[in-house]
Structures are given as C-alpha cells and as structure tokens.
C-alpha cells in the first residue's frame, strides 16, 4: 500500500427539505453527517450500507457532483472544495465515477463511439484518427468488440453497458474510480465477469477504487478495507477480514448474519433487525442505530451519540459497548 490518495474530513451533506405553501426550508435530510475516510493509493476501499444510508451521496460529493455542505476533500493533498469550477473540470480527468444503473447512465441518443470518445474530446486527447484508435483500444480493453462502436446503448445487455461505462471512465486514464454499486443491476454470472474485469484493470493500470455496494460478499471479494455506513454516519471501519471475522458493531453483526449464504447446509442463526432505516435522522444526541439495536443499553445509548474510535489496531467502531 502506498500514500494517501484521498482523504475526506468531516464531510457533511444536508439536503434541504422544502414544504408548506411557500416552499420554505422546513428541515434537512442529513444524507452524509460528518464522516472521515482515508483511501490509500492502489487500495480498494469499500463503502457498505443499506439503501438511503448515504453511500451514493458520499461518492458524488467527493467528485463535487453535489456540493458538500461542509468538510474537506483532499485529493493528492489538494482540497477539492476550494477549486474553482474550471479547475475542477480539469481535475475530473483524475477521478471518474461508474454509476449504479447501467440503463440510465448512458445517453440513449449517442453511439458507443461518441460516448467513449467524449471525455477524450473534452480533455483534448486527440481528434479524428487518434481518437478513434484510442476508443478502439478502450473498447477491447473492457472486452467489447469493434462492431459495437456504432450501436446505441439500448442494443446492449446490462453487463455490456456497464463495460461501456467503464471504458468511458478509463478513457482519460484516471488515478481513481468511484464505483457506485457497479454490479448490483447485473446477473451473478455477469457480475463475476465485471468484477474480474475490475480486478484485472486495477492491477494493470494501478487504479485506486472507492467501491460502493450493499452486497457484503462482493465487498469482501473486491476490497481491502471497508467502512460501514448507517444513516449518514460511519459505524465501523476495518480491514476487510477483520470486519468479517470479528464484526464489532451490533449493526455489522446483524447484517452479516442476515446475508444469505449460498450453501443449504450452512445456515447460521440470523439476527433479524426490527423496523427499517429511517432517513429523517434519529433523535439528536442519541445513537442512530438505537431504535433497531438488539444490544441497546438504554442509559447511555439514548443520551449520547457514540464517536468513531479505534478499538483495535486499525479497527474503528462507533458504539458504546466498546467505550
């Protein structure tokens, strides 16, 4: 592992909730509520959580596709939040995103060649022949064929579309990819193809991944280090094996137990959580997971929000059980 490539400090993103007659702000959704992340060069950093926990918002704020409410995003030591719009546009070549839904992330009115060639045009990599060469190279890099070049997205399967998305992201040789559930819309057999492709590309091009997913098995397969999010907060961060061998947070434990295992003979006793994740933020100054927590110790959990702290070497947990 190398140096720190991306460091996120105290990142917050609140979305205003408008309501009433005059559409005044009547509150806010705390989609991301004060999180810190450190991603090292060449690493695959996983971000897990249920839907609505704020994973996508973290990814998009890092790219400044949504403006953060507060916090610092240091990429190679530079604070992205302080860059002007045009500086940011240039920097976008360094960090690319792959979207969750392969069906809506490609412009239906552009051919594959135009889609993959667009970043090259924008970042002035070349035109005409040179551009076409590069596009062909990218297309074969992600395992598509040349006669796909002039077709439209709706002619492709989900897996193929995701490959087109990957080709577009890799066009200008970024250092880092933010992958927002890149395989959750795909079949298992195709998911395996795409995951393999991602691993191979990472090795070949020395990429750093921020890999967002709700599938713990996929995270375990791809990532080196994992952060678990719940309602905009990080509840646990550790090396991937630590999380799976020794989950500490009650939420992590429940999620791991509820994950279906593809083995009819080995079915661990599962912890079934009550209720559902609520997006409007929990009680102020209490543990957000409290209402669903099977290990809740009412006295402290209801009065004080636990802080993320290092409990073991490189293993951080936010829970009063470990104070």
């Amino acid at each position: 592992m190398g140096d720190t490539l991306l460091a996120v400090k105290n990142l917050k993103k609140y979305f205003p909730v408008r309501g009433g007659l005059f559409r005044r702000d009547i509150g806010s959704i705390k989609a991301v509520d004060d999180i810190d992340l450190t991603v090292e060069e060449g690493q695959s950093f996983g971000l897990v959580g249920e839907s609505g926990s704020g994973k996508t918002t973290v990814g998009k704020t890092i790219l400044r596709l949504v403006e953060p409410t507060e916090g610092e995003i240091l990429f190679e030591g530079r604070d992205l939040c302080k860059l002007s719009e045009s500086e940011m546009r240039h920097l976008r070549a360094e960090m690319q995103m792959i979207f969750q839904d392969p069906y809506s992330s490609l412009n239906p009115r552009m051919t594959v060649k135009r889609i993959v060639g667009e970043p090259l045009l924008i970042h002035k990599w070349g035109k005409g022949r040179a551009l076409e060469e590069r596009v062909r190279e990218l297309i074969s890099l992600v395992g598509l064929m040349e006669d796909h070049l002039f077709r439209y997205p709706h002619e492709f399967s989900g897996g193929q579309r995701q490959r087109i998305g990957i080709a577009r992201a890799l066009a200008v040789e970024p250092k880092m990819l933010i992958l927002d559930e890149p395989t959750s819309a795909l079949d298992v057999s195709v998911q395996a193809q795409v995951l393999d492709l991602l691993l191979e590309l990472q090795k070949r091009l020395n990429l750093t991944y921020l890999f967002i997913s709700h599938d713990l098995a996929v995270i375990r397969y791809i990532c080196d280090r994992v952060a678990l999010m719940y309602m905009g907060k990080v509840l646990e961060v550790a090396a991937v094996e630590d999380i799976f061998q020794n989950p500490m947070h009650p939420y992590t434990q429940a999620l791991l137990s509820a994950m279906p295992v593809a083995d009819p003979e080995y079915q661990p006793e599962e912890i079934i959580l009550e209720g559902e994740i609520s997006t409007l933020g929990g009680q102020e100054g209490a543990c957000r997971f409290g209402p669903r927590c099977p290990a809740r110790d009412t006295a402290r959990c209801g009065k004080e929000e636990p802080m993320l702290q290092e409990v073991e070497d490189g293993h951080l947990v936010a829970c009063h059980l470990y104070d």
Binding site: A192, A258, P260, A262
Partner: protein, 345 residues
C-alpha cells in the same frame, strides 16, 4: 408434508412475435411443484423465469405471446384449456402472486385499504365483487355491498397484522407512497395471501429490498408457508436466498430447465455445466481474489437460439454432438435429480 403434485408443466413451449421475428422464449420447459415445497427458480435475466410462472396463471399476454405446445396442470387440471371465467376464479382462489417491484404493483391513487378490499372482495363472491370494485368507495351506499366491504376490511386488517404491520388500523387508510419498500411488500403479501391459496408465486420478492428487510420478508414467507401449508414458486437471482429457503431448485437457461433437483443436490453436486458455472460465479465467505469466475459470453438471442443445446456456445465441455443433435432431454442423475445435458446420457 404430503407428497402429491400441485403443479406440473410438461414440455411447455412459448413464442413471442416481435419485429425481428419469432422469439422462442420457452423451449420445452418441464417443472414440478410438490405440495408444501418451496421451489426455487433461478437463472440469468431473460431466460424465461417470469414467463414460466405466468404460464401457470395463464397470464401471458397473448398476443404477442403464443403457447405452441405442452401442458400445464394445476391440481391435476389442465390450465391451458379452461375457460376465461374458470381461470379467473382459479387465480382468485388458488393462486397468490407477488412481484419484484412493490412500488408499481400498488396503485398510487387508492388507499392501501381500498386496494386490498377490492381484491379480497373479488375472492369471496364474483358477482358482488364486480360491483364492489366498480363503485369503489361509493359502493358503501348499498347495504349488501357495505356489509361485504366491512367483512373484507376486517380480513384486510387481520392480514396486515399477520404480516407484521402492528398499527394496521391506523395505516390501512394510508396511500402507498406513505409506506416504505419493505412495508409495501408486506402489504402485497398480505393481499396475496388473504384468500386460501395453495400456491404462492413470488417473483423476486426481495430483489428491491435491503439485506435486513429481505431477511424480515423471507422469515415472514417461511412462517406463512408453514402456517397455511402453501407451496411456493420462488423466483430469484440470489442463490443465497435459494439456499436458505428452498427444498427444490430448478435452474433455467435460455428458456429451458437445464437442471432440477433438491437444494442439497444442486448446491453440493451440481451436474449441468451451467449450474456449475453459476456456483462458481458467486463470491461467498472465504472466496479469494481471482477465485470467482464468470460464465463467458452472454445469454443467446432467443430469436435465433443456438441449435442443439442452447448453452453450447458458452459451455466448456461442449462436444460436436451438442450443436448437431436436437436439444438433450432431461435424464435422471440421481433420485429426484434431472439434468438436460449430453454429458450424462
């Protein structure tokens, strides 16, 4: 568990007429569902899982669909030759169905209660039911209908409580958008199971849900199955869910059931190269980087499916006869374990 056969599909073939020609969507599907069993139906997208399920309820849109061969038996009766009215009653009384997307299965402009009452009403009495749903809540002005509605509402409340919506009395008049995804799926299950069905068709009931909610819903289905002595056809992409829930598994590929057997057989000693490929494609606990393996290639175009075994272009064991001879017929690979592959015949 009494072992009689609830559903039997024999050599079912289904075509769809499209712009580019005739799409051969199901090609000799064979499937059995035993009473009290949960049968898992797995396979890649577009391989015909939903269409197989819909054919039991005879809900395939015709046209463009066209059943060109085979038979479907439900409780020993031939489904394909019933009249429309008989089918409607069968669907209302014996079949329960829930679908993948809990948002689109509910109408956003009616309350949860109204929608449940209409469906429950249509189960109990056909003629009154049509009046019920035609008039909507206006129907309450007619005394008999009002009584029927009240009965249906009681039943709806009972079912909502049964599926774990505790404050059912307060929530029943809410609109679907006021419910979360998990709760909507509960509502659908409650509605589906409010009659006395003998088969539940669950088409990817948890695909749109989170792991922790999925666990809740699966637990709920398990409980209801025990309680009501249901059989279930569970369609899913998630092999983990199959391993957890099902006694029997059928694996489909490009419109063919390529392997059928008990869950233990399928997971522990898969025989068909496609099933083996699927098993290798999923990362589980302890899978190291580079250990999973996708199945190369993609699902074939059903307009012009490969001749012979439809899997042969992607199969690592393909032999010349796989492409030349007609598709392999199912052969026994053990007790209650069938494979359609030339390697075993």
């Amino acid at each position: 568990m009494d072992n009689d056969l609830l559903v039997e599909i024999k050599d079912l073939r289904l075509n769809f007429r499209t712009f580019d020609g005739i799409s051969k969507v199901l090609n000799r599907v064979n499937l059995k569902i035993w009473r009290g069993d949960i049968l898992g139906l797995v396979g890649e997208t577009g391989c015909g899982k939903t269409m197989t399920a819909l054919s039991i309820a005879r809900l395939i849109p015709c046209p463009p669909g066209e059943i060109v061969g085979g038979e479907v038996f439900f409780e020993g009766e031939d489904v394909l030759h019933k009249t429309d009215e008989e089918m409607r009653l069968l669907r209302a009384q014996k079949l329960a169905m829930i679908f993948q997307d809990p948002t689109t299965s509910l109408n956003p402009v009616f309350t949860i209660g109204d929608q449940m009452i209409d469906i429950i009403g249509s189960r109990t009495d056909t003629s009154k039911a049509s009046r019920l749903s035609m008039l909507g809540s206006l129907g309450s002005l007619i005394p008999t209908v009002r009584k029927l509605r009240r009965g249906a509402r009681e039943r709806a409340l009972e079912m909502l409580r049964r599926v774990g919506i505790g404050d059912a009395a307060e929530r029943i008049d809410d609109y679907p958008h006021q419910f979360s995804g998990g709760m909507r799926q509960r509502v659908l299950i409650a509605t589906a199971l409010s009659g006395t069905p003998s088969l539940l068709i669950a088409d990817e009931p948890t695909t749109a849900l989170d792991v922790s909610i999925q666990a809740q819903i699966l637990r709920l289905i398990e409980e209801l199955v025990d309680e009501l002595n249901l059989s279930v056809l569970l369609i899913t992409h998630n092999l983990g869910v199959v391993a957890k829930m099902c006694q029997k598994v059928a694996v489909m590929y490009a419109g063919v059931v390529v392997e059928y057997g008990s869950a233990i057989d399928i997971f522990k000693s898969p025989k068909h190269p496609y099933t083996i490929g699927l098993m290798r494609a999923i990362p589980t606990y302890g899978t190291k980087k580079g250990e999973i393996k996708g199945i190369p290639g993609t699902v074939p175009n059903l307009l012009d499916p490969p001749r012979g075994c439809r899997f042969h272009p992607r199969c690592e064991h393909a032999m010349p006869r796989c492409a030349e001879e007609p598709a392999p017929a199912p052969v026994a690979a053990g007790p209650d374990h069938e494979v359609s592959c030339f390697l075993y015949s």
